[in-house]
């Protein structure tokens, strides 16, 4: 039961990253792919109508985390205090910039909110990347299961670590690259005209860049947490994840090469999910690793809610999930189709 909940919670967070990742990516590419005001509106319209639905995955993840792993929520959220508030503020600014940017058709107004949009997305990609790096590397947990971390200490990934060190910064850079590639792939599918053509080119270059950076952080992970690879090899889920990665990478390359945009975009989603699934399966059952003394690490068992709470949640969660899927089918049909510059067919964005 606890392993199943670990999988559900991980998949909810992964769903969020895959869904909102394309928005981060679109935001990061904003300046280079959209040259005119109309093109910038077009990019916002391509991601706009669904941003709050994507963010609900993060909120729902947080809620489920309290329900099934309350002690992890308590330890991790207090420990990541500063990073989490930066993420929250960026999410606020990002949402507002999407929402109000289109309200006034004015050069200064839109220029300002476009700038806010880009900065917030960049910081979000970096912060989520660093957070992923922190999950892999571990945090300075003490025997009470508590930790607190400044932004940085001595930039080494051992002992009293900070949020940022050479390893987590590398993962953050990787996150920026792969999310940008993901965003470019999405916009290629979702737009037409000059924006589409630019995105198609950027998507190829960026995905080509993903491969070497992935190799680098894999080697770095081997250095920082060598035992993870032993765990991964003995975990069938990791092999499944690897299969997904290989399959989707192949589909991605062929999709990009032959201009099959939907295939490329789906592959991009699965590739991102495959990487995250492999990673989260490799660290299981540890949810938060202690860089001070590994025996103080928090495992899924030690942070789980009492059995009855888990049991009750496993009754209503599937119902909620089925409903959420139903709504998703409804809204994605509504927003199907490309967004063009001169046909404001979706919204006031």
């Amino acid at each position: 039961m606890i392993a199943a909940w670990y999988a559900i919670v991980s998949l909810m967070l992964i769903t969020y990253v895959v869904l909102d990742g394309r928005n981060f990516g679109a935001g990061l590419l904003f300046a280079v792919i959209a040259k005119t005001r109309e093109e910038r509106r077009q990019v916002i319209a391509a991601i706009g109508p669904l941003w709050s639905w994507h963010e609900v995955w993060l909120v729902a993840f947080g809620g489920v985390l309290v329900a099934v792993f309350p002690k992890l929520m308590a330890s991790a959220f207090a420990g990541y205090y500063l990073a989490l508030f930066l993420i929250l503020w960026c999410l606020i600014l990002r949402g507002i910039s999407i929402e109000v940017g289109g309200h006034i058709n004015d050069r200064l107004w839109q220029g300002f909110w476009d700038f806010v949009f880009v900065s917030a997305n960049l910081l979000l990609a970096v912060l989520f990347g660093a957070a992923a790096g922190n999950l892999a590397r571990g945090v300075p947990l003490d025997a009470n299961g508590d930790f607190s971390m400044p932004f940085f200490t001595d930039f080494t990934p051992r002992g009293h670590v900070g949020l940022l060190d050479w390893y987590t910064v590398s993962v953050a850079i990787f996150a920026v690259v792969i999310l940008t590639a993901h965003g470019a792939t999405y916009l290629t599918l979702k737009t037409e005209g000059p924006v589409h053509d630019r995105c198609a080119i950027y998507a190829r270059y960026l995905w080509a860049l993903v491969a070497p950076v992935l190799l680098i952080i894999t080697v770095e992970s081997l250095e920082v947490r060598p035992e993870l690879f032993g765990q991964a090899i003995s975990n069938p889920i990791c092999w499944l994840g690897l299969l997904v990665i290989i399959g989707s990478a192949t589909a991605l390359v062929s999709g990009l090469w032959t201009g099959r945009e939907l295939r490329a975009f789906l592959a991009s989603n699965f590739l991102l999910a495959g990487l995250l699934i492999t990673g989260s399966a490799a660290i299981f059952p540890v949810m938060l690793y202690s860089t001070l003394s590994p025996q103080d690490s928090l495992t899924a068992n030690s942070v789980a809610a009492p059995h009855n709470s888990l049991f009750l949640a496993s009754i209503w969660w599937p119902i909620g999930f089925a409903l959420a899927t139903l709504y998703f089918v409804f809204i994605s049909r509504r927003y199907a189709g490309k967004v063009s510059v001169n046909r404001d067919n979706q919204s006031v964005y």
């Binding site: 109309e38 109508p49 709050s52 993060l58 909120v59 729902a60 330890s75 500063l82 508030f85 507002i96």
Partner: protein, 463 residues
């Protein structure tokens, strides 16, 4: 509240209270306004009168802005359970996590899926589905309110839990927890209060247009709907919901009731103070003017009923800010009474057909809309200050709930950040809503007409 400024619990309370108070300015209008949209959309379907669709289109724009700020300021609330209240999350997460998660799974997915459809989907969806989108958003927002109020009701009156071997809480009965009697009463009271806010805002915009002699058909529609719904909601918020809420407090939190009324000594024939300032050091109400027996009657049903005084409880069981609690409660009661009188008079004038011509009444209605926000806020302050010194009543002290590992330096840093960010957000919101109100409802050009203008302009610029 602890006056010791080096106390970490103080700063975490301050931040949570500030961000929550600010956040709740938005959902209360969302929850109130949602049913106006449903009602007008339904009228449009039934009568085919285009004025209802104009009203929906206009209010949906304000609703959308309000909703967006509500969403972005809501996410920090959930996160702060972990960041600032780790002690409480560790202790009670096995119980309150259920509703926090349900809110995401059942309410937010519903709301966020249909909000876009409600605001921009009219053409694509057609009138029936557009009506359903309005219903979906309204239900989602009320469902979200219910789950949060169950969470709060657990903190006020814990039920359905069991204490594990490690001293932490788990859930024993989900139905008992979800159907907490406190939650039902609080939900009814709170939702009626949200409807009061919605009604006052709708009426205020109607009065504004009426006084400026703009949009006569629309202003009449807003005034009638706002004033009628406002009277019903103002009455229901006081009786039976507010009355039941007070009785609930009297039954389960007698020391809170004593503090709310500034009753330092117990006794029968307890009065409700109209005027009087609590003097906690001297343990008395200064210069009191009371309605004798009113509190006894309201809380326990007869004038002779005995109402406990603070002197019957040790001082460490008292709510830790009696003065603020007292004023919050009295301000809420006073405003609630004024709302009933104002809306009753406005409904009477409306019935006589004199509302549109009664300039001074329109002025009052136009300027009255901030007061329901104040009443909602002080109502919540009454609930939450009254719960002190407990985080979960009778189970867990507030001083044990905050995150021990978070330094004051970090909390004060994020508090400053929130104050700055929310100030800017508030200015932005007022500016944009003001702009929509100044622009007014489109009565001549329907959405199609507007869309054509946008398209034409776009093409021109591309060419």
């Amino acid at each position: 509240m602890n006056s010791n400024l080096s106390d970490p619990a103080f700063w975490s309370r301050f931040q949570f209270g500030f961000t929550l108070t600010y956040h709740y300015l938005f959902p209360q209008l969302t929850m109130g306004l949602a049913w106006f949209l449903v009602y007008w959309k339904w009228r449009a379907l039934r009568t085919g009168d285009e004025k209802y669709n104009h009203a929906v289109r206009f209010w949906a724009k304000i609703f959308g802005l309000n909703f967006a700020v509500g969403v972005v300021t809501g996410i920090p609330m959930e996160f702060q359970f972990g960041t600032n209240w780790a002690g409480f999350t560790r202790y009670a997460g096995g119980v309150i996590g259920q509703t926090l998660a349900m809110e995401g799974m059942f309410a937010f997915f519903l709301e966020s899926a249909f909000i876009g459809a409600l605001i921009w989907g009219e053409k694509r969806l057609g009138p029936r589905y557009h009506f359903l989108a309005a219903v979906g958003v309204a239900l989602g927002s009320w469902l979200s309110g219910y789950f949060i109020l169950v969470t709060n009701a657990f903190m006020q009156h814990p039920v359905g839990y069991k204490v594990g071997a490690d001293g932490l809480l788990g859930i024993s009965s989900l139905s008992a927890y979800l159907l907490n009697p406190w939650a039902w009463v609080e939900f009814a009271h709170n939702q009626m209060a949200a409807l009061v806010t919605g009604s006052f805002v709708v009426a205020a915009v109607g009065a504004f247009y009426s006084l400026r002699e703009q949009h006569p058909k629309q202003s009449q529609l807003y005034l009638r709907a706002g004033v009628s719904a406002g009277l019903i909601a103002s009455l229901l918020v006081a009786f039976p919901t507010g009355d039941q809420q007070a009785k609930m407090v009297g039954r389960h939190q007698p020391v809170t009731l004593a503090a709310m009324e500034g009753r330092f000594q117990g006794g029968s024939m307890a009065g409700v103070a109209i005027i009087g300032q609590p003097n906690v050091a001297a343990q008395r109400l200064d210069n009191p003017i009371e309605v004798p027996g009113a509190l006894s009657f309201l809380a326990y049903g007869t004038f002779q009923s005995y109402v406990h005084g603070l002197d019957e409880y040790p001082a460490n069981a008292w709510p830790d800010n009696i003065e603020l609690l007292y004023y919050s409660f009295h301000l809420m009661i006073t405003l609630g009474t004024i709302f009933i009188l104002l809306m009753a008079f406005a409904t009477f004038q409306n019935w006589r057909g004199r509302l549109q011509s009664s300039t001074w009444l329109l002025w009052v209605l136009m300027l009255a809309f901030p007061f329901p926000y104040i009443a909602n806020t002080v109502g919540w302050m009454t609930a939450e200050l009254g719960r002190q010194p407990w985080l979960a009543y009778g189970l867990f002290h507030t001083r044990d709930g905050y995150s021990k590992v978070v330094s004051n330096g970090n909390t004060i840093f994020t508090l400053i950040g929130f104050i700055g960010l929310y100030f800017v957000l508030g200015l932005l919101f007022l500016f944009l809503v003001g702009r929509e109100i100044a622009h007014g409802p489109d009565e001549e050009a329907a959405v199609e007409g507007r869309a054509r203008v946008v398209t034409a302009r776009g093409k021109e610029q591309v060419a």
